[in-house]
């Protein structure tokens, strides 16, 4: 929508607010369908329906799924939820304790629920499902608990599992068959999901699907990234650890793998590859190529041909010293041997740190400017690797880690990246890590939030700050733009600090221990002085 522009955004004012009754990290976007706004909260995963046709947007109904309380004890990085989806009259979402639930969008009554995860193994679900052509796609979390990663497709009408593909193990489990044609030689061979691990390590090897799934209807393929291999201590799992930290393309109907690209074979730094896959058709050479645009956790911006999995370019979009670069002939990441963590030793100044140059929070692509707007981190780390013991339902990490600001001292950066010229056109340094996704509007305004609670609007062309609003809690939630029932453009975001980066506040951690929250406590020590926990929706619009 174009009502809000760089010229008038400074007049943006509050339309209404709503308290979610939760105080953990709020990462989900609000969802607006037919005059109703739906909000899915962190644990205990309340689903609210707000009536946008009435003044003040009163609650129409609330659905409480009552997930198991103990699931909070196996969720690695706060008890977040990354969103609900709408399809054919139903709101579909996941619960922390591993269920997928469909609720009637009008009545708020449950249509079906399917249990997919088992918290006894440390398995949770935090991702937002994707509905494509009658299938609900869901994946699990638990890469820090030795949970074997999978993606499942449920029938949208019944919730029954149509297919399920693991991301480690034998080809029959991974749904690798005759259609599988990866672009690079290192991904070809039988049962690589077994052979690239020590015996049986693939059974507890991670490769979870806690991020984003994209769908290309023309190719009928889904794309998703796989999480880190477990444990973090790389010496316990020699080999490439297929099919972790990479991107899969699968056939939507059957789940059969079509191609795979592993961004960081034998991941050393918890560089999950679960980040968003932005589908774009871009000019490349003399033709137009259907590609995936991927600002990776490992610090490289990838342009990948989405038909074949071939990497067209991979360029660092921030400070990286952990890798030397990607060999475009073999597709292989060239690691920096100086930064290779060894068991019993501390390896210092590894950049980017475990949360990556960018973590889960999606970038925004503007088809108008052709620019990808990337909210991300500038963090480095010290990494002490030690032997991890596998005990089901407990952490399987084997690392003593602490993070701190990278070069320049700022912990966050907002980068406007030109994927064709492979360079930043502008950037904004932010003091705190950026954990909120970005929103790019057709009016030429970019919105994002900061962990100390500023909600900002900047000019898409040059990054100039146009407007800001101080929310009651730090913002890690996803902003949206929507047309209200009155025809006006609204901008909505939920403030509620938390997540991995904000756990020091939402879980009340003690920052005297630099290793708390897997090392993030050291990087956000000052956060408890800058914000408090919350869970409040803010909706803005222009004055009449």
């Amino acid at each position: 929508m174009r009502q809000i522009t760089p010229n008038n955004v400074s007049k943006l004012g509050l339309a209404f607010t709503f308290s979610t009754a939760t105080t953990h990290g709020y990462e989900a976007p609000p969802l607006v369908v037919a005059g109703t706004m739906y909000l899915i909260t962190p644990f205990p995963n309340y689903l609210y329906a707000l009536d946008l046709t009435k003044p003040g947007a009163p609650t129409k109904w609330t659905f409480k799924p009552k997930p198991l309380a103990a699931s909070q004890g196996v969720a690695c990085c706060d008890t977040v939820n990354r969103g609900a989806v709408y399809s054919k009259g139903k709101i579909i979402f996941n619960t922390l304790d591993g269920q997928t639930i469909a609720v009637d969008a009008k009545s708020g009554q449950q249509v079906w629920r399917t249990r997919l995860g088992n918290i006894q193994k440390g398995e949770t679900i935090t991702m937002a499902p994707l509905v494509a052509n009658g299938k609900v796609l869901v994946g699990n979390s638990g890469g820090e608990m030795g949970v074997r990663g999978w993606i499942a497709a449920l029938d949208e009408g019944s919730g029954k599992v149509a297919w399920k593909a693991f991301n480690t193990g034998p080809d029959k489990d991974v749904l690798i068959g005759p259609r599988f044609k990866p672009a690079y030689g290192s991904d070809r061979g039988k049962d690589l999901g077994v052979k690239t691990w020590p015996p049986n390590a693939w059974k507890i090897g991670g490769g979870n699907v806690w991020g984003w799934i994209s769908y290309d209807p023309a190719l009928n393929l889904i794309y998703y990234g796989t999480g880190n291999p477990g444990p973090w201590n790389p010496d316990q799992r020699p080999g490439d650890n297929k099919w972790t930290t990479g991107v899969f393309a699968r056939d939507l109907n059957t789940g059969q793998a079509v191609w795979f690209y592993q961004s960081t074979p034998h991941d050393l730094f918890d560089h999950d590859d679960i980040n968003e896959n932005i589908l774009a058709d871009i000019p490349w050479g003399n033709s137009r190529r259907p590609v995936l645009l991927r600002p990776g956790r490992d610090g490289f911006f990838y342009v990948i041909d989405r038909r074949s999995g071939q990497v067209l370019s991979a360029t660092p979009y921030g400070y990286v010293n952990a890798y030397r670069g990607v060999d475009l002939k073999t597709g292989r990441m060239v690691p920096n041997p100086d930064k290779d963590p060894k068991q019993g030793r501390v390896t210092r100044n590894i950049c980017p740190a475990a949360p990556g140059l960018k973590d889960w929070n999606p970038a925004a692509f503007s088809p108008i400017t052709g620019i990808v707007y990337i909210p991300h981190n500038n963090l480095c780390m010290d990494f002490g690797a030690m032997e991890a013991n596998y005990i089901a339902g407990t952490p399987y990490v084997g690392a003593d880690v602490k993070f701190y600001a990278g070069p320049g001292g700022n912990r966050g950066v907002f980068t406007a990246w030109d994927p064709l010229k492979r360079r930043a056109i502008w950037e904004i340094k932010e003091d705190l890590p950026l954990w909120s996704p970005a929103l790019a509007t057709a009016g030429g305004v970019i919105f994002y939030g900061t962990m100390d609670g500023w909600f900002k609007a900047v000019d898409a062309r040059n990054g100039h700050l146009l407007w800001k609003f101080k929310a009651g809690s730090g913002i890690i939630g996803q902003p949206i733009s929507y047309r209200g029932p009155d025809g006006r453009q609204y901008i909505a975001v939920v403030a509620g600090v938390g997540g991995w980066s904000g756990a020091v506040v939402s879980l009340k951690l003690d920052t005297r221990d630099p290793t708390a929250a897997l090392g993030f406590a050291n990087a956000t020590k000052d956060l408890p002085q800058k914000t408090t926990a919350g869970g409040m929706l803010y909706v803005f619009t222009l004055p009449r």
């Binding site: 309380a69 103990a70 909070q72 690695c76 990490v397 221990d513």
Partner: protein, 184 residues
């Protein structure tokens, strides 16, 4: 034992050091059986109807509190049983911090032992049957070092891990009254 011992330390430092060296090597004898059980459901509460008197500290507590070998063994278990993966070196993560002054289920060693044995509803696993009662007491003794409870001569003067946590001899001592401000 500990208070008398600390008095010694302050009055005659040298004698105290000698005693300390002896104390650190002290191990409880297996020939005289101790009641090797964890106090099931030891109350984490602060309201005791009728008398207002909390239950007396479990008699076995003194075998573990301030006992250097028990604490050292507890530290080893804390790493190996993955306690460290949730609580880290006291700052917390998936589990609450253990180095601060907030004790939802009580900070007494018998209360901590009960929490380890029974688990707690918001995600703390129940370890009874997975660890011996002796090990659970040792873990509880170590957990108390994270908030500086034992005397400084019973704890390690250097970190056993690779992290940059401060040595436990420098850990500040926090109050341990039951407190429920940390919701998780």
């Amino acid at each position: 034992m500990s208070s008398r011992f600390r008095a010694n330390l302050t009055i005659i430092a040298a004698a105290g050091l000698v005693l300390s060296a002896c104390d650190r090597e002290e191990r409880h004898s297996r020939s005289k059986p101790i009641g090797e059980t964890v106090p099931a459901g030891q109350s984490p509460d602060t309201i005791y109807p009728g008398s207002g008197t909390p239950p007396p500290l479990d008699a076995r507590a003194k075998l573990y509190d301030n006992n250097a070998p028990a604490i050292a063994e507890g530290q080893r278990l804390y790493m190996q049983m993955n306690c460290v993966g949730c609580h880290f070196h006291g700052g917390g993560g998936m589990g609450p911090p253990l180095m601060d002054d907030e004790w939802r289920y009580g900070g007494r060693i018998d209360q901590i032992a009960a929490t380890i044995a029974e688990g707690r509803p918001n995600g703390m696993p129940a370890w009874r049957g997975k660890l011996t009662d002796d090990q659970i007491w040792q873990l509880a003794a170590y957990v108390r070092t994270l908030s500086g409870q034992p005397s400084k001569d019973a704890v390690a003067s250097r970190s056993e891990e690779m992290s940059n946590t401060t040595p436990q001899t420098l850990t500040p001592r926090e109050p341990t009254k039951t407190s429920d401000t940390a919701e998780q």
